[in-house]
């Protein structure tokens, strides 16, 4: 058995060391990564993948700890991927989400992995999708992905999760804020955390008002829940809604099919884009034409889009 096959076998058996190693291989994009993902892929699709996003400080990690406990009480196993931002200046990262979940470290039914975005945009890391697949293939019933909390454009999570939870906390803005495009549009469930605070009710009402102005997501009306993550208040109700959404997807195969289709298309496109770009640029460099082309763009003799069209045409001719 090759090293990769051994790790895959371990993952399918739920071996924690193999899971950890598999995620590292994927993160570092080592030569074995592609083979590993290819072997794991057929074993995915069983877990309920939940994405949790929202501004930093809203209480995501604290809530996840309570959510995981509740799932465990119900006999489910859970994988958690907690993403934090990589510094664009130093390349380093402080991965501190785990602090709020540390008591779960020694629960055998829970696997927690911290990931740095490594400068991928949109709130997750490039490897997050495949890391979630590893946890899925390892047999986790639920996989929760916590995005790096930064703002309104963290919508990459839709490519990873089936159910998206958007978390708010009181005092982060008014009704207008609630209408803005981006993460407010992707939510299957809204949660207003720190519901013990004064304006929690108003925040929930603002979100509900915004929802009344928008279209339903394929027949699913996103509920607006209130939680107090520190005490666990509201968590059982949240789990119920998560289960409800999962059932909705099962009972609406067309909706589920659309989701799967969108994901497959996005995955394929991204994989193709990455490889084609690299192949074309590498060829240019090999032919010694890369710097010349950059110079032409700088001197405005051509523009990037026209240059790209020429490159692609040439590639298709030679393919």
């Amino acid at each position: 058995m090759t090293k990769t096959e051994k790790i895959v076998k371990g993952v399918l058996n739920g071996d924690r060391r193999s899971i950890a190693k598999a995620i590292t291989i994927i993160e570092n994009k080592t030569p074995e990564a592609q083979e590993l993902i290819a072997q794991i892929f057929p074993h995915t699709g069983k877990a309920h993948v939940v994405g949790l996003t929202g501004a930093g400080g809203a209480g995501k990690s604290t809530l996840i700890e309570k959510v995981v406990r509740e799932y465990r009480r119900r006999g489910k196993t859970v994988g958690v991927i907690a993403v934090d931002p990589t510094s664009p200046f130093t390349g380093g990262a402080f991965l501190g989400d785990r602090i709020r979940m540390q008591e779960l470290s020694t629960d055998e039914g829970v696997f927690i992995r911290s990931m740095a975005t490594r400068n991928y945009a949109g709130g997750i890391a490039r490897a997050t999708k495949d890391a979630a697949r590893v946890l899925d293939a390892a047999g986790k019933d639920i996989v929760i992905v916590e995005t790096a909390g930064a703002g309104q454009s963290e919508v990459e999570i839709v490519k990873v999760a089936q159910t998206i939870v958007v978390m708010h906390a009181p005092g982060l803005g008014d009704e207008i804020q609630a209408i803005k495009a981006g993460i407010m549009e992707i939510a299957d469930i809204f949660v207003v955390n720190k519901a013990d605070r004064e304006n929690a009710n108003k925040t929930a009402i603002d979100i509900q008002a915004m929802l009344q102005l928008s279209n339903k997501k394929g027949g699913w009306k996103p509920p607006v829940l209130k939680t107090v993550a520190l005490t666990g208040e509201g968590v059982p109700e949240l789990i119920e809604e998560l289960e409800e959404h999962r059932r909705f997807l099962e009972d609406n195969p067309e909706c589920k099919e659309n989701l799967l289709r969108d994901k497959a298309e996005a995955d394929l496109l991204e994989a193709v884009k990455e490889r084609i770009s690299k192949a074309l640029i590498d060829e240019l460099k090999r032919e010694g034409k890369f710097d010349k082309l950059l110079r032409e763009i700088i001197e405005k003799k051509t523009d990037p889009a026209s240059a790209a069209v020429k490159l692609v045409k040439k590639a298709i001719r030679n393919a």
Binding site: R16, P31, R98, Q102, S105
Partner: protein, 135 residues
């Protein structure tokens, strides 16, 4: 298409220390040196530390302890790391560890002890130059 290898470091606080200023200073410094630093927070048991190191697949573990319990706790941690198969992880320690205990700690497999007064630059350089060869 391989990305540059990122060094993943676990900064852990075993025992009952009540503050973690030093640990956080080291964590920040390593982050600014380009590493991915996972911090456990206070009051970690040896079991929690070993399990975290396993799940996070770290290259390096930095143990920070101020309470004087290192002679009890460190052996337990090193034993658990061995049990988990994490013998290829580089472990260093810091905080309040008396000079006379240093060689005993090193015999456990802890590669270096950084006492009070160590500069963050020293720790960064040590980590960079003593990275374990991992599978």
């Amino acid at each position: 298409m391989q990305d540059a290898r990122k060094i993943r470091v676990l900064i852990a606080k075993p025992g009952l220390d009540s503050h973690d200023r030093g640990a956080k200073v080291v964590a920040r410094a390593l982050r600014d040196a380009g590493m991915e630093v996972i911090y456990t927070g206070l009051r970690q048991t040896p079991e929690q530390i070993a399990e975290t190191a396993l799940q996070e697949d770290v290259d390096v573990i930095g143990l920070s302890i101020l309470s004087g319990a290192h002679k009890t706790i460190f052996p337990r941690i090193m034993e658990l790391l061995k049990k988990q198969g994490l013998t290829d992880v580089m472990v260093f320690a810091g905080g309040i560890i008396p000079e006379e205990d240093v060689s005993e700690m090193k015999k456990l497999g802890i590669k270096e002890i950084f006492g009070p007064g160590t500069t963050t630059e020293e720790i960064i350089q040590y980590v960079m130059h003593n990275l374990p060869k991992r599978d």
